[in-house]
């Protein structure tokens, strides 16, 4: 068990920059999710830590060990690939035993450890089978067992649940979290699925186009997105983004969203005063709908566009000017498309972004 540290690591493939100046620390025993859309460089980051790729520049440390140029077979990491990559010509037992055989452990020691990890992952009755005789969920467990059996310093998981059906995914997700906490292995989990990241991780690293967008706890990433990308990526549906103008009202800066003018308190209004335009964001689940503007709330007039019924809730899409805005409401609320309503949001739930740098102005130092 070890801390993993990346110092301004870049990776280029020819002219394509897959990762740009990534500096990150994965704390000893922590569970970190690397979250990003496809092509964001998240898998590249994982492969760099595993040693499959070598960084174009920068250094990688496991604790005090500099592993930048160390081949993967010397790093003692466990990796579960998206397609599991089991050895098709070996039985499950031999698949799991393979890393131990390479370590030249005594036969009974190997046997003991294989059976131990098989028990942990509930695959004891599958040991004599071949990978082609297993279901996706079983293969996933075997891949996990193979990664864990060598007691790795770091456990790397590359979208391990994405090939499973929805029900199984939620079941294994819970087991995975429990397992990681019990074993206390530093775990890095790559996913494009934010619900997995939010549910599993102690910390989330949001990555896009080869650059780190935000590092934080699930709560931080959700409640205080650092930039527009994070706000528009996290959440289901993600945050609403509405362009707005800054206007002066009685000497202080106020935000004009369509016809609605909201004047925030001192520190925020001072920050806002430096901009002509901002992008206002709020989460669909933080807004309510009403016939009238609500008191102590920011109320924005909008026209209902469509209603999606999801059973436990409804998602109403409205148009503010030409901008679509989504609001999550009770299943009983089903406004008529075309009707005019007010979107009411508590002022504390509003976020403001600089349209140029795309940064949350909360994070801009004055």
């Amino acid at each position: 068990m070890v801390e993993v540290r990346l110092e301004s690591v870049s990776k280029r493939f020819g002219r394509v920059v897959a990762l740009h100046e990534v500096t990150l620390t994965f704390e000893d025993g922590s569970f970190t999710a690397i979250l990003g859309p496809s092509g964001s460089g998240k898998t590249t980051l994982l492969y760099l830590i595993a040693g499959i790729y070598k960084p174009s520049s920068g250094r990688i440390y496991f604790g005090d060990r500099d592993v930048t140029n160390m081949p993967p077979n010397k790093r003692n990491v466990g990796l579960v690939f998206q397609n599991y990559a089991l050895y098709p010509h070996m039985t499950v037992y031999d698949n799991i035993a393979f890393p131990l055989r390479l370590k030249k452990l005594p036969r009974d020691e190997i046997d003991r450890r294989v059976r131990e990890v098989a028990k942990l992952l509930h695959i004891e009755e599958l040991l004599e089978r071949y990978p082609s005789q297993l279901s996706g969920g079983q293969q996933q467990r075997v891949a996990m067992a193979r990664a864990l059996v060598k007691q790795p310093d770091v456990l790397l998981l590359d979208e391990p649940l994405s090939n499973l059906d929805a029900l199984l995914r939620i079941k294994i997700r819970a087991e995975l979290k429990r397992l990681q906490k019990d074993l206390g292995i530093t775990t890095i989990y790559v996913t494009h699925d934010q619900s997995e990241a939010l549910a599993l991780a102690d910390r989330i690293v949001v990555i896009d186009r080869g650059r780190i967008q935000q590092v934080g706890t699930p709560d931080e990433v959700y409640a205080r997105p650092r930039n527009l990308f994070v706000a528009g990526f996290i959440g289901s549906p993600p945050a609403n983004l509405i362009p707005a103008k800054i206007v002066a009202r009685s000497g202080s800066a106020c935000v004009a969203i369509g016809d609605t003018v909201y004047c925030p308190d001192k520190p925020l209004s001072e920050k806002l005063a430096r901009f002509q335009e901002v992008i206002v964001a709020f989460r669909p689940e933080h807004a309510t709908l009403g016939e009238e503007p609500a008191e102590n709330m920011v109320s924005i007039e909008a026209e209902v566009y469509t209603v999606e019924t999801l059973g436990k809730e409804n998602i109403v899409t409205l148009l503010v000017g030409a901008t679509p805005v989504k609001v999550v409401v009770e299943p009983s609320v089903r406004p008529q498309p075309g009707s005019k309503l007010f979107i009411n949001v508590e002022p504390e739930k509003l976020m403001f972004f600089d349209p140029e740098t795309e940064l949350n102005i909360e994070y801009i130092e004055v």
Partner: protein, 322 residues
């Protein structure tokens, strides 16, 4: 009809029947008939060859039309297998057939070994490693395959004569025999290698990178990964390759004729050159004897194709199912 019925039944048991896989009976019947018709001439010649080897005179098929009986004899087989050819062929030759078979086997196994080894290594490199001129080399190899082997013969022969006269001057006995065989094997194998490299590359390409990486991460060295994880997965390819190149070496005439036979003043015969000798002078040739040698010559081909049909099909489509 019996054959068509057999085909149909096989289709039925081997796959679950649903709309897509439901056997189209008529089509199967037509295809079976067409295949049978197309292979009829070949089948007939094979049958006549086998019959001839057990008969006093060459069986041409006309006997059946004329109603003449075929006079059965084991004389030619006995003569062939015991090597007492002088009793049949007027010229006083004694040929040790077993030695001839051994020579043929040495060439065939040698070609098989060299081709398999070279293509497995090169196929892996082309599939997995990045080096300069990789694409160019791949194209060059295909180009090499396009050259007919006979055109290369003159150059290779010159080199051969020169090697024997200079480097191996004064080397006799086992050393010379080894050199002669090695030369024949290498020259023959080099004709097979280009296509085989491509075939092996195809097999290696089918293995996901992640499987190889897994082995590296599990702590295996590159060589161990290759030996213990990659090779077992291309086993069908290696087997097909070994068989193909074995047959190529077994059947080869021109290279063994030039290097093993002419190049050594007729010291080493293989089955192919033996048959050539037996039918060499058509007027005095004992054709049933040549037929017996021909049957011997065909045996491994028929045996391999009968035993490994599925494997060969897989090799041609380049598919290994995990």
């Amino acid at each position: 009809m019996a054959l068509a019925g057999l085909l149909r039944r096989r289709v039925r048991v081997s796959r679950p029947v649903d709309a897509e896989t439901y056997p189209k009976r008529r089509l199967t019947l037509v295809i079976a008939a067409a295949v049978l018709l197309a292979s009829l001439p070949m089948l007939t010649t094979y049958i006549l060859l086998v019959l001839s080897s057990f008969s006093e005179t060459l069986v041409t098929g006309a006997e059946f039309l004329e109603g003449k009986p075929i006079r059965f004899t084991l004389r030619y087989w006995e003569a062939l297998l015991s090597g007492r050819l002088s009793a049949i062929v007027m010229t006083p030759v004694t040929i040790n057939v077993w030695e001839t078979i051994l020579n043929t086997l040495i060439v065939a196994l040698g070609v098989s070994l060299v081709v398999t080894l070279a293509s497995t290594l090169a196929g892996y490199a082309f599939s997995r490693m990045r080096f300069r001129f990789r694409e160019r080399l791949m194209e060059l190899i295909i180009l090499l395959h396009a050259f007919p082997g006979v055109t290369l013969l003159i150059g290779v022969y010159l080199l051969y004569i020169w090697t024997l006269a200079s480097l191996l001057h004064g080397v006799g006995g086992a050393g010379r025999a080894f050199a002669v065989f090695a030369y024949t094997i290498l020259a023959r194998a080099s004709l097979e290698i280009p296509m085989s490299v491509w075939m092996m590359k195809g097999f290696f390409d089918k293995i996901p990178w992640e499987v190889e990486w897994s082995a590296l991460i599990d702590g295996a060295s590159r060589i161990r990964t290759w030996l213990e994880v990659m090779l077992p997965q291309v086993k069908p390819g290696i087997a097909a390759l070994a068989i193909f190149s074995f047959l190529a070496g077994w059947e080869d005439f021109i290279y063994v004729y030039v290097f093993l036979y002419l190049g050594t003043e007729g010291k080493y015969l293989t089955l192919a050159t033996l048959i050539d000798q037996l039918v060499g002078n058509l007027e005095t040739a004992e054709l049933p004897l040549a037929a017996a040698a021909g049957v011997l010559y065909l045996l491994p081909t028929i045996a391999f194709f009968a035993l490994t049909q599925r494997l060969l099909l897989e090799a041609y489509t380049g598919g290994v199912k995990a």
